[in-house]
C-alpha cells in the first residue's frame, strides 16, 4: 500500500543521504525502522507523508503519489506523523480543544467533528480527560493526546518517530499499548525507535544504513543473524538472556513467558 520506489534523497547536492531505497508496506502491518543517528530515519518519515519530495524515484500511497501536488493533501491526511513529545507541544488549553484544533484545519462538519473527537479520545483511553488542562497531564497522557489529534483525521497509516523516547516507563508502556491496540484494529503502524525491546514486538523490521535498506525481515532474524555486529544496534534483553542461558528456542519479546515455559513442571 505504501511504496518506496527507488527513492533517492539528499539535503545538499553531492551529499546523498538515501540511495535507491525501495520497499513496500502492506495495509495492517506493524513495521519497526531502526538505524544509527543520522542514518535518515526521520527523513524517511517525512518522505512518507510528502513533507519532503524524493529527488529521484517515487513514494506512492495506493494510487496516490507524493510527486503529484493534487494528491498531497490526501496523503497528509492518510499518513499521520507522531513525534517525540516535547514539554510544550500543546497549543490549546484542554485535551478536547487540542484534538478539535487539528480538525478545524480540515473543515470537517460540526456533527462529524464531535463524533471523530470522541472516537479518537476513546481509542487512546483519554475520554475521561477531555476537559483536563495540559499541565495536569503525565507525559504518557500528553503523548496519547497527540496521537488522538492525529487519529481524528482518520489516517490509514501512523508513523511514530521516536514517539516513546522522552517518556517515563509508565508513559512508554501506555503509548506502546495504544500502538498495539490500534494495530489489532487494523491500522498500519510504522515505529521508528532506538529501543530494541520495542523492535522485538514488531512484525517486521527495516534497518537503514549507509543510505540503503540493509535488512528487511522479522525481528528474530535480525537479532539471530550476524547482521547486527556491523550496525550501531544492540541486542534486546530477551536475546542477551537467551545467550546467557544458552537457550536457542523461539525468541519472544515476552522473555518471562520464555523462561516459564522452559522451567520443568513437577
Amino acid at each position: 500500500m505504501l511504496i518506496f520506489d527507488q527513492v533517492h534523497y539528499y539535503y545538499r547536492k553531492g551529499q546523498p543521504l538515501l540511495a535507491s531505497v525501495s520497499f513496500e508496506i502492506q495495509e495492517g502491518e506493524f513495521v519497526a525502522i531502526v538505524g544509527g543517528n543520522g542514518s535518515g530515519k526521520s527523513t524517511l518519515a517525512r518522505l512518507m507523508n510528502g513533507l519532503l519530495q524524493p529527488r529521484e524515484g517515487e513514494v506512492r500511497l495506493g494510487h496516490l503519489s507524493t510527486r503529484n501536488t493534487d494528491d498531497l493533501i490526501k496523503i497528509r491526511e492518510q499518513v499521520g506523523l507522531v513525534f517525540q513529545s516535547p514539554d510544550d507541544q500543546f497549543i490549546t488549553t484542554s485535551v478536547l480543544d487540542e484534538v478539535v484544533f487539528g480538525l478545524e484545519n480540515l473543515r470537517v462538519p460540526r456533527e462529524e467533528m464531535s463524533v471523530r473527537v470522541k472516537q479518537a479520545l476513546r481509542a487512546v483511553q483519554m475520554e475521561d480527560y477531555a476537559e483536563a488542562m495540559p499541565h495536569k497531564l503525565s507525559g504518557g497522557q500528553k503523548q496519547r493526546t497527540a496521537i488522538a489529534s492525529i487519529l481524528a483525521m482518520r489516517p490509514r497509516i501512523l508513523v511514530f518517530d521516536e514517539a516513546t523516547s522522552m517518556l517515563d516507563p509508565q508513559g512508554r508502556s501506555q503509548v506502546l499499548s495504544v500502538m498495539h491496540e490500534l494495530h489489532r484494529q487494523g491500522m498500519t503502524i510504522i515505529h521508528i525507535t532506538h529501543h530494541m525491546d520495542e523492535v522485538l514486538e514488531a512484525e517486521r523490521v527495516l534497518l537503514l544504513n549507509g543510505g540503503a535498506i540493509a535488512f528487511d525481515g522479522t525481528p528474530p532474524e535480525l537479532f539471530r543473524t550476524g547482521t547486527l555486529a556491523d550496525h550501531p544496534l544492540d541486542q534486546p534483553f530477551a536475546v542477551r538472556l537467551q545467550h546467557a542461558l544458552g537457550l536457542n528456542t523461539g525468541l519472544k519479546a515476552d522473555w518471562k513467558e520464555m523462561i516459564r515455559t522452559q522451567w520443568p513442571t513437577s
Partner: protein, 286 residues
C-alpha cells in the same frame, strides 16, 4: 566538598513542585535521579545549578551558602555543567563550532586551550570533525544531543548534570556515551547527576540513586538497596524494577529459593541466575 540542601521547597506558578528536600551530593559520585514525569527531577537539578533562586530552605556549595545576588550566584555555580533535557533548550549558535566554543569562552579559557579541547571532545561524543561547520538546526535528533553534551563537557565541569542524556541516541552510542562519562567521572573524581527513565542504565552505572515522587524525595541509597532490598520505595513512585532484577525475582519464584547477589548489574545477575537455571532439572528430583 559537597553540595547540600536543607529542607528546600520550591513553588512555581502557585504549585509546590519540590517539598522539603534535604540531601547531600558527595563529590566523586555518580548519583542517578529517577521518578515519573512531573516528580520534580528537573526542578531539583535547576536548584543545584542556581537557576531557581526563589527557593525556601538552605543550599550550600562546599559549605558556602549560594549567594543571593545574581553575579555571586553565577560565579558560585560556574563549576556546574548542565545538559538540558531538550537540546533545543541550549543550542543557540549558528554553527557547531560556535556552540562548542561558547561555554569555555565565557569561562575565560584561552583560545589555545579551547582549540585543543575540540578534537578530543568530539571524539568522546562520537561526532566527526566535519560537523564543526554545520548548522545545529539541520542535525538529526541524536546528533543534536551529542552537540549539547559536548558543549558542556568541553567546559570540564566539577559537577555534571545530565537530564535524560541518552534519549534519542542509537543503542551503540548510548552505551559508548555512558561508559565514557563513567570513566571520565571516576578518573577525574567528578560528580555526575544523572536523570534517567532507564532503570537498567541506573542499575548499571550509579553509586547512589535518588527517587523523586510528587515533589518529594522518597529515598536516597545505593542501587543495590533500592532495587533489591528496599523495593517498596520504587513501587510507591510507580517505577518498574530493572529487567535483570525482574529476572532474578522470576527465577526465585520458579525455583522456590533465594538467590544471593550483591550487585544489580546485568552481568552479575546473569552469572547467578545461570547456576540456578542449569540446576533446574535436578532441583525437582531432590
Amino acid at each position: 566538598m559537597a553540595y547540600e540542601l536543607k529542607q528546600v521547597s520550591v513553588s512555581l506558578a502557585g504549585r509546590e513542585v519540590l517539598r522539603d528536600i534535604s540531601c547531600t551530593l558527595q563529590e566523586g559520585k555518580w548519583i542517578s535521579i529517577i521518578g515519573p514525569t512531573g516528580a520534580g527531577k528537573s526542578t531539583f537539578a535547576k536548584v543545584i545549578k542556581g537557576l531557581i533562586p526563589a527557593y525556601k530552605g538552605e543550599y550550600t556549595l562546599h559549605r558556602q551558602p549560594l549567594p543571593g545576588d545574581s553575579k555571586g550566584r553565577m560565579k558560585a555555580v560556574r563549576e556546574i555543567g548542565y545538559v538540558f533535557q531538550y537540546p533545543e533548550q541550549q543550542i543557540f549558535e549558528t554553527t557547531v563550532y560556535k556552540e562548542l566554543t561558547f561555554g569555555p569562552k565565557m569561562l575565560g579559557h584561552s583560545r589555545g586551550r579551547i582549540e585543543e579541547a575540540l578534537e578530543p571532545v568530539l571524539r568522546q561524543v562520537g561526532l566527526p570533525a566535519e560537523i564543526l561547520s554545520a548548522s545545529p538546526l539541520v542535525l538529526s535528533g541524536g546528533q543534536k544531543r551529542r552537540v549539547a553534551i559536548a558543549s558542556v563537557l568541553i567546559t570540564d565541569p566539577k559537577l555534571l548534570i545530565l537530564d535524560e542524556p541518552t534519549a534519542g541516541l542509537d543503542p551503540l552510542s548510548r552505551q559508548a556515551l555512558l561508559q565514557m562519562l563513567r570513566e571520565w567521572q571516576q578518573a577525574n573524581h567528578r560528580t555526575v547527576l544523572f536523570i534517567s527513565h532507564q532503570m537498567e542504565d541506573v542499575a548499571e552505572y550509579s553509586d547512589e540513586v535518588m527517587v523523586f515522587h510528587e515533589g518529594q524525595l522518597l529515598g536516597h541509597s545505593d542501587p543495590g538497596t533500592l532495587f533489591m532490598k528496599n523495593t517498596e520505595i520504587l513501587r510507591r513512585a510507580g517505577l518498574p524494577l530493572p529487567e535483570p532484577v525482574q529476572l532474578l525475582r522470576l527465577v526465585e519464584e520458579l525455583s522456590g529459593r533465594t538467590i544471593e547477589v550483591d550487585s544489580c548489574r546485568e552481568r552479575d545477575i546473569f552469572d547467578k541466575v545461570r547456576l540456578v537455571w542449569e540446576a533446574r532439572g535436578l532441583h525437582h528430583d531432590e
